[in-house]
């Protein structure tokens, strides 16, 4: 948690191997991420991480199914299995029957569910969410948060989420507060 500009998104980018720390070290599975090049970072993201963004970031004019299949293409999963896994992931986020819809034909909550399905279809160890509820109304916010909690509890996926809304933070088991680029408080056992 933290106000805008407090460094929470930058922290998430470092944790998500999208960015490298300018000083200090970040060990991911025992590897110092700062020493890796762009391609190696891409491979880390491909195999261990999933991303959900505030703006959904789905490919426009592309069906939900194809959006979810995308990370599997880069993992070189054969097309038949790709389809199976993508359909399963969409069913898991409660979007059965919407596979052929393009993002423009889906509501904000549904788009975010597609994004979550895309993030979890590769069975990542860690799911990084940057203000995933930022663009949704309160009913949808709760819906998305329940889904993330369920993924954490049922599948053991570590979910790291950035938010500035205290009621969203209520769902987390550990809350780290940022202020001016520094960790202000670290509260464990929240929920």
């Amino acid at each position: 948690m933290g106000a805008s500009g407090s460094g929470k998104s930058t922290c998430l980018n470092v944790l998500g191997c999208l960015d490298k720390p300018t000083s200090g070290a970040y060990l991911f599975r025992g590897v110092d991420v700062g020493t890796l090049d762009m391609d190696q970072l891409a491979l880390l993201r491909r195999h261990y991480l999933g991303f959900v963004f505030q703006g959904f970031n789905l490919l426009a004019r592309t069906s939900a199914l194809e959006n979810v299949e995308l990370p599997l293409i880069y993992r070189r999963v054969p097309s038949v299995e790709r389809r199976k896994l993508a359909l399963q992931a969409l069913a898991d986020v409660g979007l059965k029957g919407r596979e052929k819809h393009t993002p423009a034909e889906l509501s904000g909550g549904q788009q975010q569910r597609v994004a979550i399905a895309r993030a979890i279809v590769t069975k990542p160890q860690m799911l990084l969410a940057d203000e995933p509820t930022g663009n949704l109304d309160s009913a949808k916010k709760t819906e998305i948060m329940r889904l993330l909690v369920e993924l954490n509890q049922a599948r053991g996926i570590t979910v790291i989420m950035v938010t500035h809304e205290p009621d969203m933070a209520e769902f987390a088991s550990r809350v780290v507060h940022f202020k001016d680029g520094l960790v202000e408080r670290d509260i464990r056992g929240n929920a």
């Binding site: 891409a42 491979l43 491909r46 789905l58 880069y74």
Partner: protein
């Protein structure tokens, strides 16, 4: 991976149908014009070469007067029948000789008249020039010796004067001479230069000289060499013989010329070949312009899809995989342009060759060159935008609006 990237590229191309079609248009026009130009050029070359071959590739023409280069003019002594006889006798590489003389005259039959060329020659003329008598006969030895006023009509003259009537045995007036028709020639059609090769009347040389020309001059001598390969030798022999007969000492200019059809055909062939290359090169420039069009659109596309590239990078695409995707998109566009251009170019040149009456041949080499060139245009001009996409920073790309 490659396959799914190609599928992705195709989907991208289809998603923006209008833009893709317009982008491709440059390549389509480029490839089509290269193929059309080269096909037409080669067709024309083939036509010219075939026409000259039709006149006889082993044909030589001996004419009085030097080949004129510059303002020098040599007063030429006319050729005589004896020259033709000497060539027949002396030149071993010569197969057949036809001395000819020409006059133009009005030919009259009944109430119809036709102004045409009257050629006086021997029966050798028919075989050397490749004319076939379709009805009647050629001249008898007595006719040739005695200069009897008989004639054989070219197909055009026959049509103009007789229509559907049978001309054999009829009498026409050729200038002041009344002439009996012994035969009619089969049509040879137009020559390369659009001349009607059937618009003439042929009679024995002696008859023409005596009754129309009033002298014993021979205008030119048609000579056929024993084979295609012997033309050079025949030409040398004739030149040597003629210099001797005309008392031309070494160092003095010839006052006659020997033209070799094979040489003319070669010269014409190289001229049209150069023209074809020139036209092809000009069309090639339009292909280059088409390539720049593709680069332009790909650059726009990269900017427009920055966010998409960010997403791909975030979920684990490596730089070179993004590069490959954009490169394949560019190549797909240019290759599709190449294929459509090929179809258009072949279709267009087929129609044009039909309209111009020149042979249509598909030259595989130029098809392959055009396709390979258009695909390389895709790679060449697609690389820069693709590299731009691959080098994007994922965080910045995702933030891009």
């Amino acid at each position: 991976m490659i396959w799914s990237t190609i599928l992705m590229a195709l989907r991208e191309v289809r998603r923006n149908t209008m833009r893709s079609v317009l982008t491709t248009l440059g390549i389509v026009i480029g490839v089509a014009s290269v193929i059309a130009m080269v096909t037409l050029g080669r067709g024309a070359t083939a036509k010219i070469t075939a026409d000259i071959a039709n006149m006889g590739t082993n044909l030589l023409i001996v004419s009085p007067g030097a080949e004129r280069r510059g303002p020098t003019s040599v007063v030429a002594t006319a050729l005589k029948l004896d020259d033709a006889r000497a060539i027949t006798r002396e030149a071993s590489a010569v197969a057949d000789v036809a001395p000819t003389a020409n006059r133009s005259a009005l030919v009259v039959y009944g109430n119809k008249n036709w102004s045409t060329l009257i050629t006086g020659s021997t029966n050798s003329y028919f075989s050397i020039r490749g004319y076939v008598v379709s009805a009647g006969t050629t001249f008898s030895d007595a006719d040739l010796q005695g200069g009897t006023p008989v004639c054989v009509l070219g197909a055009t003259v026959r049509r103009e004067l007789f229509g559907t009537q049978d001309p054999l045995g009829a009498s026409v007036r050729v200038g002041p001479v009344s002439c009996t028709i012994t035969g009619v020639l089969a049509s040879k059609g137009q020559s390369t230069f659009g001349q009607d090769q059937d618009d003439f009347v042929i009679m024995p040389l002696a008859a023409l000289q005596r009754r129309l020309a009033g002298n014993t001059d021979v205008g030119s001598i048609y000579v056929s060499a024993v084979s295609d390969k012997a033309t050079d030798k025949a030409k040398q022999q004739i030149e040597a013989l003629m210099r001797e007969r005309r008392h031309i000492v070494s160092g003095q200019n010839d006052d006659f010329s020997v033209q070799d059809m094979k040489e003319i055909s070669k010269t014409l062939g190289s001229v049209t070949g150069a023209l074809t290359a020139l036209l092809g090169a000009i069309a090639g420039v339009s292909l280059l312009v088409g390539g720049i069009g593709i680069m332009n659109i790909m650059l726009v596309s990269v900017t427009e899809r920055t966010r998409e590239i960010g997403i791909r990078l975030a979920i684990g695409a490596r730089g070179h995989e993004v590069l490959l995707q954009f490169l394949i998109e560019a190549v797909t566009l240019s290759a599709m342009g190449g294929i459509f251009g090929m179809i258009l170019g072949l279709g267009g040149s087929f129609a044009a060759t039909r309209a111009l009456g020149i042979p249509f041949t598909v030259s595989v080499d130029i098809l392959v060159i055009a396709l390979v060139f258009s695909a390389s245009v895709g790679i060449g001009f697609g690389f820069f935008p693709a590299r731009k996409a691959a080098r994007l920073n994922p965080i910045e790309a995702l933030r891009h609006e």
